[in-house]
């Protein structure tokens, strides 16, 4: 049972992070390599709002969520907007530069010490018994449930709402979508906002479970294989890819050698790239070389 719980928590982490990669790529064909930094910014956002709204944890959480969404929209409006129409490589390089800038800015603004937003919110990370022999941390449980809720909401949003349908249209054929009157910049800004919101949410929940460390940025990159295995333009693929990568990682730790846990996601990714480069649920013709 514990093994299943461990896989579920790790898959939820990967799925919540990789959902941001997919949202941006699916809509604008840009691979955001600043996603780890934006995720960390979300975690620091929670620490900041927790201290600002001390004694009001729910307000602090809502404010940090709104902050993450706004940061995403601003990244598009102030930076990525200028990359529209430029080569994919230029846009990817811009996100790398943004990541480096954010990393430096976060050290200056928040220092280098570990921060514990859950403690600042006045909550504790209790251990909860699950299914008889399994245990899960409260933050881990919220992470699994929150990831499920985010994916469900995104599926409904993309299929049943006007803005969601616009996002899908812009992703499938931007020229046709623009000719039909869809404002592409608005759609792209929304995609960046939602991606940063979900990435930030992942950062906040990881920080609630384990604190904010400088290495949080790297965890953002660790979810990348999950997105690629599932297919970079498929949300459902990101979910399945996360389960596959997390499952392989946890089983390797438990039955083979924990040292291999770091390489196994990339081994799964390489195997997928050899057999099916566009991923399990990705679109074949959308494959691009960067």
């Amino acid at each position: 049972m514990q093994l299943a719980v461990n896989i579920a928590v790790l898959a939820a982490i990967y799925a919540l992070i990789s959902c941001g990669y997919v949202l941006i790529y699916r809509v604008s064909r840009v691979l955001s390599l600043a996603h780890g930094e934006l995720m960390m910014l979300g975690a620091y956002g929670l620490a900041a709002t927790a201290s600002l709204f001390s004694g009001h944890p729910l307000v602090a959480i809502a404010a940090s969520g709104a902050l993450a969404l706004t940061v995403g929209v601003l990244v598009y409006a102030l930076l990525m907007w200028r990359m529209t129409g430029e080569s994919v490589l230029a846009a990817v390089l811009t996100t790398i530069a943004l990541g480096i800038l954010l990393r430096g800015a976060m050290v200056l603004a928040f220092g280098t010490q570990t921060q514990y937003p859950l403690q600042q919110l006045g909550w504790t990370n209790a251990s909860i018994a699950i299914g008889g022999s399994g245990r899960i941390s409260a933050a881990g449980l919220v992470l699994v449930l929150g990831t499920g809720a985010v994916y469900a909401a995104l599926f409904v949003f993309l299929r049943a709402t006007r803005w969601g349908i616009r996002m899908r249209a812009a992703g499938q054929n931007p020229l046709l979508a623009a000719q039909r009157g869809i404002r592409l910049h608005g759609v792209y800004a929304l995609a960046w906002g939602l991606a940063t919101f979900t990435g930030g949410m992942a950062g906040m929940l990881i920080a609630c479970d384990a604190g904010i460390e400088a290495t949080l940025v790297t965890i953002g990159l660790k979810a990348f294989p999950a997105a690629l295995v599932g297919g970079l333009d498929s949300l459902f693929g990101a979910l399945v890819g996360s389960l596959i990568v997390a499952g392989a990682e946890v089983l390797i730790i438990n039955y083979v050698d924990p040292l291999l846990s770091e390489v196994v996601p990339f081994f799964v990714l390489l195997a997928m790239l050899v057999v099916r480069p566009w991923g399990l649920f990705g679109t074949r013709e959308e494959l691009d070389r960067v």
């Binding site: 220092g111 251990s127 400088a214």
Partner: protein, 384 residues
């Protein structure tokens, strides 16, 4: 011929004579992974040396500390060392960064024949006797000695046969230490039951903790960066493990014991805690308050010690300083630690680590609502 020789000598001597201060260069992980451990050391070292300068300096001269950030990257550390040696003409090079930066800095220091001092970073074995002529270290960590001290503590506390588990981060220095500890535990009559090595950034430590907990150890020893040590412990507790956990006291240990509040979580270290409230602690508080440092005062002992060591080495270096004169001073150095450690820090020509390493152990006492000392200074002789 005489004129040419004079010109060459003058050119060689000029950079030193032209400077009116002892110039020291640091390459440190001020950003990047590990910055949380290394940046406070450099901040405290700088604050201490500023304090010395404010009091008139050393031998009537100021100390100029040049800090370069290497982000814990070997290539940047190499570039920093080159710049500090060639351009700034430093008389001591200091490393306060991850072990991956050691090789390029050692190579540059040897080329320039300038002493390389590890202040706040893990002491390389080359500083142990028989020491490399150019490498020195005052950091609290001591590979192999820390495992000896920790396992001796476990043995002294255990009333039942010890089934010991090990946890470390997948970085060379931590893995080597935990392998050493595993071997040592067998010679001390303990039974090693499991060893978990987790990658540097693990999103969730529970899978590693699960394997460790399932082996049912009654003690676990971990020697790694703090994040790996404490996350593994916390995950094990959430899984219901109720054994005892011994781990290394990094800079943040005193604050972290109070955060974790677990009576069976022990930290072992060589620096006194602020709860001792020694006169030198008041001095650290005053110095860092004047310098307006962001780091909690409990994080600053290691950097303060590095500052004290530099001051003592320069006091014995006659003006004008050269790397050779500094080296001679460092080869015969005894620094009074004022209670921050169990005894003085002593370097000899053969031993650039210290002649004795002293260990204390602390834990959280729920009854007292405070961090308490479980074991007072225990000395280990550092020999060949």
């Amino acid at each position: 011929m005489k004129k040419t020789l004079f010109a060459v000598l003058l050119a060689a001597a000029w950079p030193v004579a032209a400077q009116d201060a002892y110039v020291i260069g640091v390459s440190a992980a001020m950003t990047g992974p590990g910055a949380g451990i290394y940046a406070p050391v450099v901040d405290a070292m700088k604050a201490y040396l500023d304090h010395v300068n404010a009091k008139g300096g050393v031998n009537g001269r100021q100390i100029r500390l040049i800090v370069q950030d290497d982000g814990a990257e070997p290539s940047r550390a190499a570039a920093n060392a080159k710049k500090l040696l060639a351009q700034d003409k430093v008389v001591i090079l200091i490393n306060t960064s991850l072990s991956s930066t050691y090789a390029p800095m050692i190579s540059e220091a040897k080329r320039a024949e300038v002493p390389l001092y590890f202040g706040g970073s893990v002491c390389p074995k080359e500083t142990y006797p028989p020491a490399d002529p150019l490498l020195f270290c005052s950091s609290a960590f001591g590979a192999n000695l820390d495992s000896q001290g920790s396992l001796a503590f476990i043995k002294s506390q255990a009333k039942e046969p010890v089934r010991i588990g090990f946890a470390a981060m997948a970085i060379p220095i931590a893995r080597a230490e935990i392998d050493y500890a595993e071997g040592l535990s067998k010679t001390m009559g303990m039974t090693p039951v499991e060893k978990q090595i987790s990658p540097p950034p693990a999103p969730d430590y529970t899978p590693f903790a699960t394997k460790l907990k399932d082996a049912n150890p009654n003690w676990v020893f971990s020697w790694s960066p703090w994040v790996s040590q404490v996350r593994t412990f916390e995950a094990m507790r959430r899984l219901g493990w109720n054994g005892r956990y011994v781990t290394w006291a990094h800079l943040n240990a005193e604050d972290e014991l109070a955060r974790i509040k677990d009576g069976e979580f022990y930290v072992i270290g060589t620096n006194a805690f602020f709860q001792d409230d020694l006169p030198v602690h008041a001095e650290i508080r005053a110095v860092t308050h004047r310098a307006n440092l962001k780091s909690p005062v409990t994080y600053l002992t290691e950097g303060f010690i590095a500052g004290m060591v530099i001051e003592a080495a320069l006091k014995n270096t006659p003006w004008p300083p050269t790397p050779q004169k500094v080296l001679a001073a460092m080869n015969n150095l005894k620094v009074d630690m004022k209670g921050l450690r169990g005894g003085p820090l002593e370097w000899t020509k053969d031993n650039h680590f210290r002649t004795k390493q002293y260990y204390r152990v602390w834990k959280w006492d729920a009854g007292k609502g405070a961090v308490v000392r479980v074991q007072d200074w225990q000395a280990i002789d550092v020999k060949r």
